[in-house]
């Protein structure tokens, strides 16, 4: 384990669901991850980009945006620590980013190589099960938030 990976493991350990992992699993994930500092307004990826990384926000705030013709870029969600985004890259269907990600303020993210994560999960089903379970939770809560946004509950009653 080199310094960078030790640092990565230390950061990962701060995230609640990583505490569940055994040391060897943590090391495997650290070996396929990088830490990345982002500056305010920095674009991490655009809609349409190849899906390459799963991201975890350690500090700062990332906005997910979709471009709508005539309306511009709409911010549909912001990701706060210790939430993650870009999860669809782990079980890809579209193989392209369906939203863009921009840093709102300075921050620090963990970038996990999605393809390598898939391989690692295939090789070690114990680790794979934990990762997929966690992703399922994330997706479920995202879905709930999206549904509540869809209900437009603050809309003016006459509109």
């Amino acid at each position: 384990m080199n310094d960078v990976q030790e640092k990565t493991i230390k950061e990962l350990e701060k995230i609640p669901w990583f505490k569940e992992l055994e040391r060897k699993h943590l090391e495997k994930i650290a070996s396929i991850s990088t830490l990345r500092h982002v500056r305010a307004e920095e674009v991490l990826f655009h809609e349409g980009d190849r899906e390459d990384f799963l991201y975890i926000v350690l500090s700062g705030r990332i906005a997910l945006e979709i471009f709508v013709p005539h309306r511009g870029k709409i911010r549909i969600y912001t990701v706060e620590p210790p939430d993650l985004f870009g999860w669809s890259s782990v079980t890809p269907i579209v193989h392209q980013r369906t939203a863009g990600a921009t840093a709102v303020i300075d921050g620090l993210v963990v970038c996990i190589d999605s393809e390598k994560l898939r391989q690692v999960c295939e090789e070690d089903h114990d680790l794979g099960y934990i990762v997929m379970r966690r992703l399922a939770n994330i997706v479920a809560s995202r879905l709930l938030v999206t549904r509540l946004q869809l209900l437009d509950m603050f809309a003016h009653p006459e509109s």
Partner: protein, 289 residues
């Protein structure tokens, strides 16, 4: 809430049903697109002097020819010179209120209803989760907490609106932050000029660690939002008795007589609008009840 001592409303006429006292519009604050705050004072100085309210209570505002509307009081209970009502323009009566000018007269009866139990919450952490037009009824409670800050533990305000343009009272947030209230804002959707959060109020329970043994949750807003805030609070083991909700129903008399505002056994105007959730639970989720 049955245990509260509700003082007899000052601004009513005990011998003549529904007869209002009269009040003058002192000033009007345009808040957001369809909401303005009306600052009023009773024309009879004796009534103005005697008038007091608890945070969470409401007045019935009367527009002759149109009718009455129940509006929560959104001003500081300690300020006896004027009373504030943030009004959303959605129907006949509220649109008539929207045509008022400074100096005009309105009828007023009140205050009515149960209130946020700010005294009982001393010593606890307080999580206020609200959205849209749900913030005005909570603002008097916030003012009370500000004035007695040392009596409370952690205080968090989670406030959401549809878009950044729909956020109310934004010029006060910094002052509240300075007084050690954690003010967290979110909108349903934003544009690239918005550097704040985009999401919904209930999801913040994922962000903030709360101690269910000493946290009280106060919530007000669209009933959907209230429902999901409660789900999240209960999932984190906040006891039902520590969750307080303010509800809204069609009100006509404000005094538990005309029947309109009933939800199950409760008259929202007299047994509410503020409820402790354990009392509400059997009836709250019944569809169309």
């Amino acid at each position: 809430m049955v245990a509260q001592q509700i003082a007899r409303p000052v601004a009513i006429h005990p011998d003549h049903l529904l007869q209002p006292q009269w009040a003058e519009v002192l000033s009007i604050t345009h808040e957001i697109n369809d909401v303005s705050t009306y600052w009023i004072k009773f024309t009879d100085p004796a009534i103005q002097k005697a008038y007091t309210f608890q945070p969470g209570q409401f007045n019935m505002i009367y527009m002759p020819g149109f009718g009455e509307s129940a509006i929560s009081i959104c001003s500081d209970p300690n300020d006896h010179t004027k009373i504030g009502h943030s009004v959303r323009f959605v129907g006949n009566v509220t649109n008539a209120i929207g045509r008022l000018k400074v100096g005009d007269t309105v009828g007023l009866r009140g205050p009515f209803g149960t209130y946020w139990p700010v005294k009982e919450l001393e010593g606890k952490d307080v999580l206020i989760a609200c959205g849209g037009i749900g913030l005005p009824p909570l603002r008097p409670a916030i003012y009370h907490i500000l004035r007695n800050r040392e009596k409370y533990g952690k205080v968090i305000l989670l406030y959401g609106a549809r878009t950044p343009a729909d956020l109310m009272y934004t010029n006060e947030f910094d002052e509240w932050r300075k007084a050690n209230i954690d003010v967290e804002i979110t909108v349903d959707r934003g544009d690239s000029n918005w550097s704040g959060r985009v999401g919904v109020v209930p999801m913040w329970f994922y962000q903030f660690r709360i101690d269910p043994r000493k946290t009280a949750v106060l919530t007000c807003g669209p009933e959907i939002m209230i429902r999901f805030v409660i789900y999240e609070a209960l999932a984190r083991r906040v006891p039902l008795e520590s969750i307080f909700v303010s509800l809204e129903r069609n009100m006509k008399c404000g005094q538990g007589s005309c029947g309109h505002c009933q939800l199950g056994p409760y008259f929202i105007c007299k047994d509410g609008p503020v409820f402790r959730f354990d009392a509400l639970q059997p009836f709250f989720n019944v569809e169309e009840f």
